[in-house]
């Protein structure tokens, strides 16, 4: 009886998809992949770069193995791996993802010289005084006044927002964008809650809180109901 194939190549309109069996050994898989790719790549040497999606089912690949796979496919001239999709996660990855999704609430005053850092969203019940810093992987919501530095989307999320009841920051940072307060301080009357986000021009802008309803609909995590 003929052995079932461990590597399946399927063409889609976006490029190729490689389905790799998750039951065989890794070395076996590599050998078969090599054979398969060598015969197919001969045919169209002149054609443009083809992106490849790799689906590995319930197999877990370490970072080194992934790198090896990338390297392996790249050698086949006009193929390049776009993504490797696996159904499994390690525990630490899952925990990190959970932490990044969570809203952490903290009741304190972040004073000069103090740094408060959370992986996900930050809900601060208190103030950030000048010289104090809050950093979050996600959004930052300050219930009191923000007079220090706030850095949202510290991991590179440009969709992150910063909001505060009293927005008087020394500096605002979202992802790798930085904005500072104007050097000439005008006397502003007490206004409503405000928020800061990155607009289409890649600039950090401050606006009324309510604009977020349209700009960042994904802030709503409520499911179902009405």
């Amino acid at each position: 009886m003929k052995k079932t194939q461990n590597v399946l190549i399927k063409g889609t309109k976006d490029g190729l998809t490689l389905h790799l069996d998750d039951q065989c050994s890794y070395t076996e898989l590599k050998r078969e992949l090599n054979d398969k790719l060598s015969e197919s790549s001969r045919l169209n040497e002149e054609s443009p770069l083809i992106t490849v999606k790799v689906k590995i089912g319930n197999r877990y690949l370490t970072d080194e193995q992934k790198e090896e796979l990338h390297e392996f496919v790249r050698q086949k001239k006009n193929l390049v791996i776009d993504s490797i999709e696996s159904n499994v996660l390690t525990k630490s990855e899952a925990e990190r993802m959970k932490a990044e999704k969570e809203i952490v609430s903290v009741a304190k005053i972040v004073r000069s010289g103090q740094v408060l850092e959370v992986p996900g969203d930050l809900l601060l019940i208190g103030d950030v005084n000048p010289g104090g810093t809050v950093v979050a992987g996600g959004n930052i919501f300050v219930m009191g006044s923000l007079k220090g530095i706030a850095h949202a989307g510290a991991g590179g999320n440009t969709n992150a927002i910063i909001s505060a009841s009293e927005m008087m920051p020394t500096q605002l940072r979202i992802s790798h964008h930085i904005n500072r307060s104007p050097d000439i301080k005008e006397d502003v009357e007490k206004k409503d809650m405000e928020c800061a986000y990155i607009d289409q021009n890649d600039q950090i802008v401050i606006d009324r809180l309510q604009v977020l309803i349209h700009l960042r609909p994904n802030l709503t995590t409520l499911e179902g109901g009405s």
Binding site: R111, S112, D127, P130
Partner: protein
């Protein structure tokens, strides 16, 4: 068993030593047994402000290194009948000559004999600060109505909050110039207290008499006629648990016209 109060500020020159000297004196005037401890090793001057410099024989470093007994190093203030003592800092060593654990042991020992231990903290947040805070039960943060002093006070409050065994600090706003506050050229008392969000324990007006008195080695609290003296005495009473209203700093000469101007927001 007495309690130890550290007087600190972060920033230098805001009046920690003057405040320590005067709170100590005012508490002694109330009949409490007080020991002042100067932890500013290498830059001591609480003894100068108290006018006790010439009586120093041993100092803090001698005590922790067991070169002498505590009572040998304590300098008695002759103006009080056995109520006020000073443990001077060493002038020849530096802050590293003492460790926080040693300070804690020393303060605990003093607490057996005195009602209040007032610890004068050096400026900064390094070793000297850590030594001063080690034995304290309570803390008083001194600031002046200047942005830089308030910023440093904020920093020090943050550090004090992390300190175990120290109650939330209370605030003294020193060197208030009333006319500048009214013109809005200086941070006002409300602004500072809401910003720092800790309890206010006293406000002290900027008074030339304070400097004059310090230079004579006579803490201003001994002179009952000065505004600053009353302010320090009020702080001492608040430490003792009395509820004393804040001093009114305005001068009386304000007429109806200026009130109207203030009402309409004209400066």
């Amino acid at each position: 068993m007495g309690e130890a109060i550290v007087i600190t500020s972060g920033k230098g020159g805001v009046g920690k030593t003057t405040t320590s000297a005067n709170i100590g004196t005012a508490l002694a005037l109330q009949g409490k047994r007080v020991c002042l401890v100067d932890t500013d090793i290498g830059l001591r001057n609480l003894d100068v402000v108290m006018g006790l410099e010439n009586r120093i024989i041993y100092d803090l470093v001698d005590v922790v290194n067991e070169r002498c007994k505590i009572h040998q190093a304590l300098v008695k203030d002759k103006r009080f009948d056995d109520l006020l003592y000073l443990l001077p800092a060493a002038q020849t060593s530096d802050k590293t000559a003492v460790q926080p654990e040693q300070m804690k042991k020393l303060v605990d020992e003093l607490k057996q004999e005195y009602d209040y231990i007032i610890i004068d903290c050096p400026a900064g947040i390094e070793q000297g600060y850590k030594n001063a805070v080690a034995g304290a039960d309570k803390a008083i943060v001194v600031t002046t109505p200047e942005v830089s002093a308030v910023r440093d006070a904020d920093r020090i409050i943050g550090l004090l909050e992390k300190e175990e065994g120290v109650e939330p600090p209370r605030l003294v706003i020193n060197r208030i110039r009333n006319h500048m506050m009214e013109n809005g050229d200086m941070l006002d008392v409300d602004e500072i207290t809401t910003h720092l969000s800790i309890d206010l324990i006293g406000i002290v007006a900027d008074d030339d008499e304070v400097i004059k008195a310090s230079n004579h080695g006579e803490p201003i609290a001994l002179n009952p006629n000065s505004k600053a003296s009353i302010a320090y005495r009020n702080i001492a009473r608040r430490i003792l648990g009395e509820s004393v209203p804040l001093q009114v700093l305005e001068e009386k000469q304000k007429g109806v016209f200026s009130k109207i101007k203030k009402f309409f927001g004209v400066k």
